[in-house]
């Protein structure tokens, strides 16, 4: 507990430094407003509904992309795990595509899909696809052969072996991939909004920067920081509920 609170103290100290440096002229720039003014603007724009609306639209795009990418990632992961042929044929392509930084595919995607939702959701889906795919495939390799054989000895049919043994067994791995995907998808969705179109918190952030409205710009940054933190925390809570057995059996190590 002591380590946690000393970490919190550092955060508070840095925020204080922000405030003091702006107030005392230590950093004397119109682009460096005091934290209190940023917070005032943040409060104002939350109450007015402007920021919640922007964040809501960003989250809607992000989760749509995440969901699509996860479904595709799990499907292909299962295919990779089940079929050697699929691994041989698709494996090299996946390995070649995976290292491409997602923001690099945004300009070409704009040409094909335009500036709006379709493009941004696709960016999110592509982002989520790879970590979910690799973790699903890894999970399949970790499924106990004895559990499958056990289901067979009781005459459990194949589709039920998949739904009642294989899928629950790989869930911890899928979730590990999803957790990575969640963080990355937030990043790439916001980047896509910053690069193209006029939607979401990403676009708002760039707009405020161009307009020289530093308070609004920092308010958007703070919102994104909180969003990233809250999404991860929420995910951890969900993970503990869903796969408590996995942590209890110490299999994560």
């Amino acid at each position: 507990m002591r380590r946690v609170s000393s970490g919190v103290w550092l955060v508070l100290a840095l925020l204080l430094l922000w405030e003091v440096s702006a107030r005392t002229g230590l950093v004397d720039s119109p682009n460096w407003p005091p934290l209190t003014r940023v917070i005032a603007v943040l409060g104002r724009d939350i109450v007015s509904g402007e920021l919640p609306l922007l964040v809501g639209s960003t989250l809607a795009r992000m989760f749509t992309g995440l969901a699509a990418g996860t479904v595709a990632g799990v499907s292909f992961g299962l295919l990779f795990g089940a079929s050697r042929l699929a691994r041989l044929v698709l494996g090299p392509t996946v390995e070649l595509l995976r290292p491409i930084p997602i923001p690099a595919v945004i300009p070409p995607l704009v040409l094909f899909l335009g500036l709006d939702n379709g493009m941004k959701i696709t960016v999110g889906a592509v982002t989520a696809f790879f970590p979910v795919l690799t973790n699903t495939a890894q999970g399949l390799r970790a499924v106990e052969a004895d559990q499958i054989a056990m289901a067979r000895t009781f005459g459990v049919p194949a589709w039920r072996r998949l739904s009642r043994v294989t899928l629950p067994a790989i869930l911890p791995y899928v979730l590990a991939g999803l957790r990575v995907a969640l963080a990355l998808t937030l990043v790439t969705t916001v980047v896509a909004e910053m690069i193209a179109g006029e939607q979401g918190i990403g676009h708002y952030l760039v707009l405020m920067q161009f307009a020289g409205r530093a308070e609004e710009m920092y308010a958007a940054v703070l919102v994104l920081a909180f969003l990233g933190y809250a999404l991860n925390r929420g995910f951890v809570v969900m993970e503990r509920r869903l796969i408590g057995w996995f942590f209890a059996t110490g299999r994560e190590g």
Binding site: D146, Q147, A149, R152, F154, R164, I243, W245
Partner: protein
């Protein structure tokens, strides 16, 4: 009459970059309905392979397996295989009760609720009343093996095929499980085929002991124990017949078996 028959069963494993290995060579064995038969052999002699073939979990390269008169091509409904590594065959995301229910809940006409009622009855039979809501990983090794046993019994098999089921627990727990095993076998009229490398376990529990040769494995001989029934698997160890059998089988194993072990 024979409920399980293996006839001239052969198993060849493809070699990894080398020649294929003949693991089992024209092995024949006939298991009588209602008997308790142990298959005894040194480590690495292919006991598990034999049992998995009998359970329809592995295909023989040649020869045939018949259960209740029918040739086996997949896991037969009459037989249930009990795994050596109970910890790996139990599903850690299911409670103990739901692990046992897993054996029957896929069957037509068995609702989830009914499967749970059946599961509780089996848990009672193995002495785990009140542990239904626990998770397997919260239980000791011996209790986990009881869960695996309850799950096997829930399927109401005629044959239990047990792969060194007591090898991973401590000596006292093992004796406990031996008693339970004989009790259940007698009460339910089961046929049990038990694979083990433990001579005393084989003799104490069995009507007959089949001795396996090292690879390529085949049955060296089958010994009738002739020990009385009903029998206490602990007390029987003090009888002259037990000692005689133990001596005979140990001698046979030590002269036949390979020096170093591998996997059973």
């Amino acid at each position: 009459m024979a409920i399980l028959e293996l006839e001239a069963v052969e198993k060849v494993f493809p070699g990894r970059g080398g020649p294929p290995t003949l693991a089992m060579d024209r092995l024949s064995l006939s298991v009588r309905e209602g008997e308790f038969l142990s298959i005894l052999g040194p480590s690495g002699c292919g006991k598990s392979t034999l049992l998995q073939i009998a359970a329809g979990l592995m295909e023989p390269s040649a020869g045939s397996v018949r259960v209740a008169g029918r040739t086996v091509s997949g896991p037969p409904p009459e037989a249930v295989y009990v795994f050596q590594q109970y910890g790996r065959s139990l599903l850690p995301w299911r409670s103990v009760r739901d692990n046992v229910a897993f054996a029957v809940e896929h069957r037509a006409g068995v609702s989830r609720a009914k499967a749970r009622v059946l599961a509780d009855a089996q848990l009672e039979a193995v002495g785990l009343t009140g542990f239904g809501d626990h998770f397997p990983w919260q239980l000791s090794g011996g209790m986990q093996q009881r869960v695996a046993l309850a799950r096997a019994l829930a399927a109401e098999p005629r044959i239990l095929l047990m792969d060194e089921p007591f090898s991973a627990v401590d000596a006292l727990t093992r004796l406990d499980l031996h008693r339970l095993m004989l009790e259940l076998w007698e009460k339910r009229g089961l046929t049990v085929v038990l694979v083990t490398h433990d001579v005393e376990e084989a003799v104490a529990l069995s009507d007959r002991v089949a001795l396996l040769t090292k690879r390529p494995s085949t049955i060296a001989r089958v010994v009738e124990t002739g020990l009385p029934r009903p029998r206490d698997p602990v007390e029987v160890r003090e009888t002259p017949r037990f000692l005689e059998l133990r001596h005979e089988l140990l001698e046979a194993l030590l002269t036949r078996g390979p020096k170093a072990g591998g996997h059973g």
